[in-house]
Amino acid sequence: MLIFGVLRSGLYSLTSVGLALSVGVIGIVNFAHGEFLMLGAFLGYWLFVSYGVDPLAAIPIGAAAIFLLGGAVYQLSIRRVLRAPELNQMLLTFGLSIFLQNLAIILWTGDPRVATVSYKAEALAVGPFTLGVPQLVVFGLAMALTIGLYAVLGGTRVGKAMRAVAQNRLGASLLGIDVDRIYLLAFGLSTALAGIAGMMITLQLSVSPFIGLLYTLKAFAIMVIAGLGNINGVIYASLVLGLSEAFVEFYVPQGGGWAEGVFFFLILVVLLVRPRGLFR
């Protein structure tokens, strides 16, 4: 059970780390985050079905495409509400979410689609457990990307600049860091990570225009548990969520229905007891 919880946390952390980047660096809580994930999933599906590109191999193309799209969305809309009240930022991304979802419905209809990757149902026996190959791959990749992102943030000039901007805009700009460029980059990266998470969904599951909201909500929960904008706490928070969900689903009768409640209840309790998050 532990292993199931751990495995699913991979996808969660990949989804949330992007959102945490957007919240942490730019201060934008993006309600359309899940829609970028959905677009990434469709891109992965389309590349697989039309060109036979394995979603794993397609990651660079997909990430680049969603990065550009995210960047464009930032330039056209997000940039204009940076100083606006929080409510307006929230609503803008709401509008964006409705827009992107319905665009997807028009482009691809609402039907769920499945990319039949050959190893979709493969499993590996590890000791007494059998673990799904795609889940393992996704978990491994998600961890690699999340840790990779930490490495970029911790080890490169641009990454450090992002952290600096996140912690103190004024201080960063006084060091010659172009804050607006960093925002653009962070938002693009945030959406690109969501896009990659989406392609990983193509790998394991099916794709439809409606998959976004669920992941937006999960990412919110994880961010709240980690502490809003705390990128470092995301992995732990994903584990907390993944494990608590799996635990409830397994040990509580009718647990599948309660798992969702657990996750919202967790948000509520964390916000009321430790509004700054569990992991800082």
């Binding site: 499945v114 149902a121 499993a123 969904i201 099916s206 669920l214 799996a246 599948g256």
Partner: protein, 398 residues
């Protein structure tokens, strides 16, 4: 004062809207026969509703080739968005502004109830495709003008458990989504399972759209049941099929009942040998079904994936037929004609309307079972329309 004034002005706007409406009121005349359809074109049920719209188009093409009572049939489609208030307003618009003669369509139970409560005050022939919830049936028990095409939930359950019985299975484990779709299936299951002599080993719920069903499947595996009965939506069958394989859960049969199957499912190796319950499948061998599929392909350049398309087709065709037989659009004549319906269409089972437990006019009451065999939905039950044999136990990994 100024603010109040402005608020009141807002209400005035409403009034103005209403006024504009009356002034352009059009009198019904001996033009086309008007049929209104209330279906969800947007929102999460949009795909099913859009499939219905295509079924209606095919039917309409056919009907208008010769017309009805010497008149054309005009279909006015209203999107209910899956929202009861919108459905109620759409009903009134169709009935009072468009002056429709018959109402068709319908999908969600909540919208059906909102529409039906309006129809009680303005009786009209409601040839209704949607809603499997017995709550709807009970609410409309007295309505003579309400014709229900879709099987009720207990019809579905009866077919499902009767089919399971036919396989020789002794035990089953249930996995259901936690929304209205799954929970109503769970409500019906125990009685029918008992009736057919099958023991339910466990019932587990999951949240539709959840990416990871392994905890639930692991629990199901531990029950060692012969059959896994899976009630979820289209997207849920993918993690169900793949993750069941991953956790090494291979019951003798997996039986799923989603409203539709994801595009591309046929290519999914792990999905092989999964059985499905449906009102209809594209592999249905009935000649009317084959004709329907072919015409659907010709017109829309794609395969029908939802049974909602042939159901809607059947819906409109039978209504047109009833009008012809009634010789007018008078409600009483229409009801009588509808009651006399006997139609062998693409669904593959003859359609007639009979009393159900509460309702007066129930159409289809039985589902068929099929099994995915190498990318094809092979109909395996009931035997009179079966196109192949059920592989039981499913020969996984062979």
């Amino acid at each position: 004062m100024n603010r109040v004034l402005r608020g009141v002005l807002g209400l005035l706007l409403l009034a103005a809207l209403a006024f504009a409406g009356t002034s352009q009121q059009v009198l019904a005349q001996a033009g086309p026969i008007k049929i209104g359809a209330i279906i969800p074109l947007t929102g999460p049920s949009g795909p099913s509703g859009q499939a219905m719209q295509k079924g209606y188009q095919l039917a309409l093409d056919e009907i208008n080739r010769q017309g009805v009572l010497g008149r054309k049939v005009e279909l006015i489609v209203e999107d209910d968005r899956g929202d009861p208030p919108t459905g109620a307003a759409a009903f009134l618009k169709l009935v009072t502004r468009d002056r429709i003669d018959v109402l068709v369509g319908g999908l969600q139970s909540s919208v059906s109830i909102a529409v039906a409560s309006q129809a009680r005050q303005r009786p009209i022939l409601m040839a209704w495709t949607g809603a499997a919830s017995p709550l709807v049936e009970q609410l409309l028990a007295e309505a003579d003008w309400f014709f229900h095409y879709h099987p009720w939930q207990y019809n579905n359950a009866d077919s499902t458990w009767s089919f399971i019985r036919s396989t020789g299975a002794k035990t089953a484990t249930l996995a259901i989504e936690d929304g209205p779709f799954g929970s109503s299936a769970a409500d019906e299951a125990p009685a029918f399972a008992r009736n057919y002599g099958i023991a339910i080993a466990s019932t587990e719920t999951f949240k539709t759209g959840a990416p990871d069903l392994t905890p639930m499947l692991t629990k199901a595996k531990a029950t060692n049941a012969d059959v896994l009965v899976f009630v979820g939506f289209d997207q849920d069958v993918i993690p169900m099929a793949t993750q069941a394989r991953q956790v090494g859960f291979s019951p003798k049969l997996i039986l799923a009942a989603p409203p539709g199957w994801p595009v591309g499912y046929e290519k999914l190796a792990a999905g092989n040998y999964v059985a499905g319950m449906a009102l209809w499948t594209a592999e249905n061998a009935a000649p009317a079904s084959r004709r329907f599929v072919q015409r659907y392909r010709e017109k829309f350049n794609e395969d029908p994936t939802f049974y909602w398309a042939p159901l809607a087709y059947t819906n409109l065709i039978t209504v047109a037929d009833a009008i012809r037989r009634a010789g007018s659009t008078d409600l009483n004549a229409l009801v009588a004609a509808m009651k006399a319906t006997s139609y062998e269409g693409p669904i593959g089972v003859p359609l007639t309307f009979k009393r159900s437990i509460y309702g007066k006019n129930q159409g289809f009451t039985r589902l068929i079972a099929f099994q995915w065999q190498n990318g094809k939905q092979v109909v395996v039950w009931p035997s009179e329309i079966a196109g192949g044999k059920l592989l039981y136990p499913a020969p996984y990994g062979r």
